[in-house]
Amino acid sequence: MTPLMDLKNLRVRFHTDEGMVKAVNGVSYAMEPGEILGVVGESGCGKSVHALSIMRLIQTPPGKIESGQVIFNDRDLLKLSESEMRHVRGREIAMIFQDPMTSLNPVYTVGFQIVEALKLHKGLDEKAARERAAELLTLVGIPGARQRLDDYPHQFSGGMRQRAMIAMALSCEPQLLIADEPTTALDVTIQAQIVDLVIRLQQELGMAVMWITHDLGVVAEMAYKINVMYAGYIIERGQVRDIYKKTRHPYTIGLLGSLPRIDEPPGTKLVSIPGLPPDLLALPTGCPFYARCTYRVERCLEENPSLEEADGVEHTVACWRWEHIAGRVSS
């Protein structure tokens, strides 16, 4: 099967007063049609920036896509003209954002904002577009959809706004939905609703979903594959069970260890990762995780490991010592 999207060696930089921020440092992976991909990492690991780069929504300046290819439906998105790219945005790839409170324009009604997209990409007239917008709101579970079209965003609760955002993103049946931390700002019970909704919609509509999050818990139940990112690199990638059960990168191990589980027995101690993520202004030449790694050896300081096959299906790890770690973790 040809992949839906093939990312090749994507690099993104931000030129700031303080210096050059290396936000994304050569990210490559492919996504199949209809797949749910989880992209996991802490703040500043480049997960959002890489997604915005796919959509070419990086503010330039200060941001700049230095190199790489985003092959989507057999063409390189980074080489398209701005007007060609506009046809991709919203129609082929749609995106929802972290904060539903600020992601909708406060001075236009929710209906207007959905209808706007429908008119643009589908060429519907006002009446048909409204009809379709109401259907979409019903689809995402907003009761009384027809009346709520004329409501302003501030009349919606946070969960409702995120639903409206999803409706807007789905309006043109995109092949890929990028969800950039869509539930981070929401409460647990509302998060469960949204996760449930996206899983249902993905099954019904068959689109691919990229779910970006810092919470390894959220993606565990829905993703097929997981990319773990750190300091602008993918440091581990694999099918969901391999990532959680055959964890090989010390960072992923640390991340899982520092997460308490609701079903944990009493007396469990959290395993924290010491130190801080590296400064993206001055990345070390070696492994970016070197300073915080308890398994580090001299080689890690000098050479940055690239992704290599580990045990498991399509499981790749960027660590010189993953075999050694695998031995220790399982024992």
Partner: protein
């Protein structure tokens, strides 16, 4: 934790209403936001009581009112045997030395114009226990205690990362050797790997210094991890309070059950196999809570009585308190 343990804090029927004013010429009192509505609990010496709830549940208000940072609308707060609600001026300031607070946002809770040294010595100066060299030594001591280099005393907060700032906040809270520390979402704005560092530090300090914690958070797994007993709040009321295992394994309130099932699990097998309760709808506004049981708008088990009568908050078995009409049926 058994009931023979010494009670440090007792909160009786605490209420905190924020009045809403409206009016064209004269401002009239038209209603209240019932942030905390009749809450009672005790905290035993040396334990950690966890307080969870979603946005608008009033958990932060409970913490702040307990320390008299907000004037309570009604109710009593006993610290050991003194009634805090009766205290004024100097007495209150004196007793505040024994109850301290760690705040949610480490970026907003440190004065950007003050050095770490002056932030930490402020409480020492106000209460005048330490002077001159002793004061400086105490500050160094505090920094070491929370794992920061004492050479940083002359630095400003903006030179530190979020996790380091939260350590400074912890040091400030500990400056006066308090008995009780209210931790108000101390980790929710930190990255996952840093969260574990801070939680481990808090646990270590509790052990070393014999502290008592009220740990407020929305992250259920983290609260369960750190607490001995935990209370669940919904719309200004405590709906359930019990031992950490009891509440996880045998919760008696439908809201607690839903909340537990909605918590993300970093384990694909467990996450996919468990039964989830997805609650419908949003949390009602605390300015206009529903009549009867607060939870009736979202409760899957709501019956007629729930819409008419507010359930009693009662001890259904030793140490397990719950406010649901049908709690006995879940036993």
């Amino acid at each position: 934790m058994n009931n023979a343990a010494k009670t440090l804090v007792r909160v009786d029927n605490l209420k905190k209403y924020f009045p809403i004013y409206q009016g064209v010429i004269l401002q009239q009192h038209v209603g209240d936001i019932k942030a905390v509505d009749d809450v009672s609990f005790v905290i035993y010496q040396g334990e950690t009581l966890g307080l969870v709830g979603e946005t608008g549940s009033g958990k932060t208000t409970v913490g702040r009112t307990m320390l008299r940072l907000y004037e309570p609308t009604a109710g009593k707060i006993f610290f050991e045997d003194t009634d805090l609600t009766e205290m004024q001026g100097g007495d209150l300031r004196k007793i505040r030395a024994r109850m301290q607070m760690i705040f949610q946002d480490p970026y907003a809770s440190l004065n950007p114009r003050m050095t770490v040294g002056s932030i930490l010595s402020a409480p020492l100066e106000v209460h005048g226990y330490w002077k001159g060299r002793e004061k400086r030594e105490r500050v160094d001591n505090l920094l070491e205690m929370v794992g920061l280099n004492p050479d940083f005393v002359n630095r400003y907060p903006h030179e530190f990362s979020g996790g380091q700032r939260q350590r400074i906040c912890i040091a400030r809270a500990l400056a006066l050797n308090p008995d009780l520390v209210v931790c108000d979402e101390p980790i929710s704005s930190l990255d996952v790997s840093i969260q574990a560092q801070v939680v481990n530090l808090l646990e270590e300090l509790q052990h070393k210094l014999g502290l008592t914690y009220l740990f407020i958070a929305h992250d259920l797994s983290m609260v369960r991890h750190i607490s001995d007993r935990m209370a669940v709040m919904y719309l200004g009321k405590i709906v359930e309070l019990a031992d950490r295992n009891e509440i996880y394994l045998r919760s008696l309130h439908p809201y607690t059950q839903a909340l537990m099932s909605a918590v993300p699990m970093p384990d694909p097998d467990a996450a996919r196999s468990r039964k989830r309760i997805i609650l419908e709808g949003d949390i009602p506004s605390p300015a206009n809570p529903p009549k009867g049981c607060n939870f009736n708008t979202r409760c899957p088990f709501a019956k007629e009585i729930c819409f008419e009568q507010d359930p009693d908050y009662r001890e259904i078995k030793p140490g397990h308190w719950v406010a649901c009409h049908f709690a006995e049926d879940f036993l």
